[in-house]
């Protein structure tokens, strides 16, 4: 990762989704996982655009998978988080936890 470059919110969510999905992480399952966990609609193309960027940074790798008739014969593209990606997620968690520590309770949050 380039110096001073942080993971964005969506970057982090995607990397976490990849970890949760393991070997079954491709566009449809990633979008579904994010929608289930966040309750918001996810644009499939945004998932790919972000994963492409993370791939350029060496945080994820991809491979072409099988094609099925329901996909119109088009191959799936599977993604997997790399060692560097896992380190980045850990680092992001550490930073966020540090920032979170000692904060007063947020408005509307239950004790």
């Amino acid at each position: 990762m380039r110096k001073g470059e942080y993971l964005g919110n969506f970057d982090l969510m995607l990397l976490l989704a990849l970890q949760r999905l393991g070997d079954d992480a491709y566009g449809v399952t990633i979008a579904r996982e994010l929608e289930e966990q966040t309750g918001r609609e996810v644009v499939v193309a945004s998932v790919y655009a972000t994963l492409e960027r993370l791939q350029e940074r060496g945080l994820v790798v991809s491979r072409l998978g099988e094609s099925t008739p329901e996909r119109g014969g088009r191959a799936k593209r599977y993604f997997r988080i790399t060692g560097a990606g896992i380190r980045e997620v850990r680092e992001a968690r550490r930073c966020l936890m540090n920032l979170w520590k000692g904060l007063p309770q947020l408005k509307g949050e239950k004790a």
Binding site: Y26, G27, V28, A31, V43, V44, A45, S46, Y48, A49, E52, S67, T68, E70, R71, G72, R74, A75, K76, R77
Partner: protein, 258 residues
């Protein structure tokens, strides 16, 4: 919609206007999701956003070639209205040979007026000359001109400097290769800039036109109608030229590969 085939027009649009290395995977994912949720509305929304996201990403990834293609398009159009259109004007309008020379004024002191002049000269000239509107001059000819320029923009987006194997910059050569993604993004960018400039300048255009109009025959609605026809012709022309040129380049690259 009960059929399990996704909306065909939307699929066609995503296939042809979507760009980026993952466009095929996105098409497959949307088709797979569509089979499960059956919502044509969801499919259309996702496909249109996919076109937008992929174009934006492609332009950002290849800013240089996008800017060069855009500038080339505007320089060519400016050359067209300043050099070619004045030559053909006498064939469409009754111009007094002893009168002032017909031309397009570009003034640094009036940048907005100059942009307006360059952008919409063909559709404004009849009013300036106090003559009837000519569809051939204001819509048909510009359509051909914009189509040619759209094609050239597509070619420019395909040009790139390729260093030879020795890696010596001085011996780098200009080559043409097929980059569908870059080309789609450049043509969209050029068409989008044309549309946006027209939208921004519409009010100014109509006001300016009213200043030039003599007599009651010219109505506001017809001025808008002429402008709308001209703008539609320019946008369709750019897309048509860019798409046709893209197809030709693609065919050529296939022949070379074989």
């Amino acid at each position: 919609m009960t059929s399990k085939q996704p909306p065909s027009l939307t699929t066609w649009m995503l296939k042809h206007f979507g760009s980026g290395p993952n466009n095929d995977a996105v098409l497959g994912d949307l088709a797979e999701q569509y089979v499960q949720n059956g919502s044509a509305r969801w499919y259309r929304r996702q496909a249109l956003k996919a076109i937008w996201v992929s174009l934006f990403r492609e332009i950002r990834a290849h800013k240089g070639s996008a800017v060069v293609a855009l500038l080339t398009g505007w320089v060519l159009w400016t050359f067209n209205v300043t050099s070619i259109f004045p030559l053909i004007t006498p064939y469409f309008f009754n111009v007094n040979p002893d009168g002032p020379t017909i031309g397009v004024a570009i003034l640094l002191s009036d940048p907005i007026g100059s942009v307006l002049t360059v952008l919409s000269a063909p559709v404004r000239l009849h009013a300036a000359l106090n003559q009837p509107f000519s569809f051939a001059f204001a819509v048909a000819l510009p359509f051909v001109a914009w189509a040619l320029i759209g094609g050239l923009v597509a070619i420019i987006a395909n040009l790139h400097l390729e260093a030879n194997q020795t890696g010596i910059p001085a011996r780098a050569k200009l080559t043409i290769g097929f980059h569908r993604d870059r080309q789609t993004a450049a043509v969209f960018l050029f068409a989008g800039s044309t549309l946006l400039l027209n939208l921004f300048l519409t009010g100014y255009f109509v006001f300016h036109l009213q200043m030039l109009v003599h007599g009651p025959s010219q109505e506001w609605s017809s001025a808008f109608g002429h402008l709308a026809a001209y703008v539609a012709a320019s946008i369709v022309g750019i897309f048509l030229g860019g798409t046709l040129m893209g197809g030709l380049l693609h065919d050529k690259s296939t022949v070379v590969r074989n």
